[in-house]
């Protein structure tokens, strides 16, 4: 019964997470990712046997192989601990990315939902991308390119010396 409930919970978390990722919205994206990582962690948790009140301690003398089935396997819990730390780091990174996108554009679903200014301690606070690098083409550029291509490709104007 416990195993069935856990399986059901994992499934529900996966479904909710997948649904939330597919919605348009930055906070929903973060929450959806959080739900999916929880689902995976719970699935990992389920791979150790689900037993309560039996610490995995083997007496020094007289340990038998049969004892191993008495308690839950501690290894998956160690794996989950590692996985939680990693997914925490990645989620924090995504939150920072979203915060910055919000501050730079303010043009998602809710403008300025998260941030209105960029911290001055930010190493790239006064960093003008156009001063150092070619702009990356966005969808508008592609459209413009196609229009140029089909209708009036600009003529060459200046020749190198």
């Amino acid at each position: 019964m416990t195993a069935f409930m856990l399986a059901l919970l994992v499934g529900v978390l996966f479904a909710c997470g997948a649904y939330m990722i597919m919605l348009r919205g930055q906070i929903k994206l973060v929450l959806g990712l959080g739900l999916i990582t929880h689902a995976v962690n719970l699935a990992l948790f389920g791979t150790g046997a689900l037993k309560r009140g039996a610490p995995p301690i083997v007496p020094e003398a007289g340990a038998t192989a049969a004892m191993a089935s008495q308690f839950a396997d501690p290894l998956p819990q160690a794996l989950i601990l590692t996985a939680i730390v990693i997914s925490f780091g990645v989620t924090a990174f995504i939150v920072v990315l979203i915060y910055r996108r919000d501050a730079l554009t303010g043009s998602d679903l809710a403008p300025g939902e998260l941030a209105t200014v960029i911290n001055t301690a930010d190493p790239f606070a006064g960093f003008d991308p156009r001063a150092t690098l070619p702009e990356a083409a966005d969808d508008y550029d592609i459209l413009q390119y196609e229009l140029d291509e089909v209708y009036n490709r600009p003529e060459a104007e200046v020749v190198y010396e």
Binding site: I21, L29, L33, I36, T37, V40, A43, L44, G46, T47, G48, L75, P76, L79, T82, A83, I86, S87, G89, V90, F93, I94, L97, I98, R100, R101, L104, T105, D122, P123, F124, F127, P129, R130, A131, T132, L133, P134, E135, A136, A137, D138, D141, I142, Y145, E146, D148, E149, R153, P154, A156, E157, V158, V159, Y160
Partner: protein, 538 residues
Amino acid sequence: MTLHPTVLALPVAIPLIFGALGLLFQSVRPTRRVRIQQTFTGIGLGANLVLALIFLVFTLSGGRMAYQMGLWPAPFGISVYLDALTAIMLTMVGLLSVVIFPFALATMDVERARAGFFPLMLFLLMGANGAFITGDLFNLYVFYEVLLMSSFVMLTLGGTPSQINGGIRYVVLNLMGSMMLLLAAGITYGTLGTLNMAHIAVRMGQAPYLVQAVIAGLLLIAFGAKAATFPLFFWLPSSYHTPHPVVTAIFSGVLTKIGMYSLFRTFPLFFPWLLNDWQPMLMTVAGLTMVIGVLGAFAQPTIRRLLSFHIISQIGYMVMGLAVAMTPNEFGVGFGLALAILFLMHNQLVKTALLLGGAAVELEMGTGKLNELGGLVKKMPVQATLFLIAAFSLAGFPPTSGFIGKLGLLEVTFSAGQWVIAAVSVVVSLLTTMSMIRLWQYVFWGKPHRTQPNRSGRAPHNAMLMTTGPVAILVALSLLIGVAAQPALDMVQVAASQAIDRVGYVQVVNPELTATDLQSLQELPAANAWRTAESAGG
């Protein structure tokens, strides 16, 4: 030649130590900080390449070795494992980082360098090396995350709107891929009771087919997402054109190729029979990856977007090689895998050369848009020539490495009776040629367009040698593989024969193996055994 097994910790330790040393100076005055970090990165990359070359010489003479971290015996501790496939990948990635390093020195802008670009190169290398050398499924996940975190930061370093947009897509899709890998590791532990790859290989044969299929499917999704195969490639073209051009070159040589390496490592080791059972699916994936990649490339308006679609297209050839790896043919089992490894090496060289050439153009002209470029052959004759050779190598013209790789893959797929995919791959080669010629014409041929001043203030043409040198080295290596094909083929055949040798892998990692374990390794389930069992049962 003998090596003490503890040296197997060095591929991870060297980049970690030099990267951490570099970061220690993060609070030093900016100009000095960058100088110090560049020095440490240079030393670290050089030491890593020397080590990788030593490993390559060791393994090509037939040597294989494993080391148990912390001296915990095999199935309990984390094993690290070195064979020819690992050594080839270590060497290729080490070589690419060393070659890209001078290019990065010449072109990296001050802001990014001050924010710690150079130590990041080492951390990316550390994650890659760890993923190559580990012999533990969960440890593989951890090293993937190390690699991805460095790549996330590298991708968004600079924080421009397009980088952040591409970065979010990249991070989300790669996090999903990692979760699938973690789930696969969890299910493996729950059903087989082990995470050590050698031990998994021993126990996988006895597992029910459903369990095998679930684990294999999850691994295929996880690694396929990293490698940008057909249904899971969308993150690549939407993010690879956003960062500094040097970063794109590093990514194309390292990231997607690690996904392919992991497929080459795990599938022949865990479930070689599935490669035959699932051949139609793998062939479909390979074909669609090739076709969609190359067709997508035709619609792209900038150099880097176009080249990133070609990255996807070329991944399809490697999947094709993997799909015929275990099919008996006139060249022997495993020859498909050997050619897939050769194609991987070729692709790393040529794709990095093309992206570096494109980077030189973008940084020189201040734009990568095809309709704003033209006639650069007069301004950059050396780059134009090298780009053309690399483009023909990508398309598969003799005497380049692309010709050898594609010819071999064609022969082995024909010999395995898969003529449909062979035909698709020939058509895709033709389309690749057209697309690359179109790119070359737009950028280097024709009338020059309005000259734009290079806006970086640090003109790459002041560092001509540092920007053309790396491209020249990569193109020369591609030609070398094309001319000296037999030594290259011998090398990858050693790698493939070791990769499909499950008994050898298990014996190297865990010498104290019982006779029944060895027997269970050799008795592969017959192809389609589950279907016959099902039909017999009713």
